[in-house]
Symmetry: C2
Subunit: 216 residues, 2 copies
């Protein structure tokens, strides 16, 4: 185990047995997710905005237009919370009360800094691309100077984070196990459907290897 030190913010209080502070476990959840939910405060109001992200080692990268409210707020180094949730299934118990969900989530706290270095910025943009679809980066046109200048990239260090997970069957009250009710788990997962070509795609362009690989 390679635990991230627990803080009062990351300590899992409810159902502490579901808490996990192992860095590999946390990174696996971050790498499997595609969308994170960013929490920040603006005008004393909490905002939660979904966005894409990438990871390189112990950093998450976020990006956006320098004009976005979220980016403008976060680049000032305010406290933020980044949450990634994977829904793995519905937990169907014999009682309404013990219904639940199986999930894996990560909650991370900290502050972001603007990536100024051109090399790190390009590496972050490659990480976004690879996170969405591995090997796609090599197939497409690379960012040009105008695009690079028009994108603000934020670096968020993964120094304060925890995972919380539930898996397995329902836990019913002992008295309820005799009820004639089907109980168990209904697994859920994000699945890919066949790709839909851009109506403007030129003829005779085959689906590229990165996409074929994602179809399994």
């Amino acid at each position: 185990m390679n635990n991230i030190p627990v803080t009062s913010r990351t300590k899992v209080r409810r159902a502490p047995k579901r808490g996990n502070y192992d860095r590999d476990t946390i990174y696996q959840i971050l790498d499997e997710g595609l969308i994170c939910h960013i929490g920040f405060i603006a005008n004393n109001q909490p905002f939660v905005i979904p966005t894409a992200y990438g990871r390189v080692d112990d950093r998450l990268y976020l990006h956006g237009s320098p004009a976005s409210r979220m980016i403008k707020t976060l680049q000032d180094g305010v406290e933020m919370c980044v949450t990634v949730t994977l829904l793995d299934g519905l937990v169907l118990a014999r009682s309404a009360f013990h219904h639940s969900m199986n999930y894996r989530s990560v909650v991370a706290f900290g502050t972001a800094t603007v990536v100024e270095d051109e090399g790190e910025k390009l590496a972050a943009l490659k990480a976004f691309s690879e996170h969405i679809l591995r090997d796609r980066w090599e197939e497409v046109r690379s960012p040009n100077p105008k695009e690079l200048a028009g994108t603000l990239v934020l670096s968020f260090p993964l120094t304060e984070a925890s995972a919380k997970m539930r898996s397995g069957p329902p836990i019913d009250d002992e008295n309820d196990y005799d009820l004639p009710v089907w109980a168990g788990e209904l697994p859920l997962s994000l699945q890919v459907s066949p790709p839909i070509a851009d109506p403007r795609l030129s003829e005779n362009i085959a689906i590229s290897p990165s996409i074929l690989n994602s179809l399994g």
Copy 2:
């Protein structure tokens, strides 16, 4: 159209064409999602916590143990943000820069109140159950007085909310349409796998109609 009045908090600023304030559209996204991300402030720190929810008319219901940090904070009527995001696909452009995602999201602002009325509380718990799996409520043991007393239900009015959506093919730079790169959409959706019986399930209990219906 039956629009929810736009406020400075719900106005979609980035890519305003993707904004939508139609109540039916917003409710459809909320009803299709299974997890919301709740944003709140505690000790000047933003928190983003994933949780289940239910909807009845113009209210979202949240629930939890009265001992949870989130529930304890929200029941005081602090400002909160509720976000639901559905990921519909990867948008694969000819340039790295124009890669995107297709999604439908709702962001709602407001404050919650504790549901004290027993009848409304039971209706909210039924809404959670029906939201997870329609008709499951009638198949299982109903909450008993002890379970009702041990669950705190919060009511969140949907008076300030907006949706943001992207769909369709990539939008590439005009010069890039001639590149020999496959471009289009890779659709993603949450799919159900065959149910897994609880190892403690008694013999001869058939999978119930609510579950069979969800398998389509």
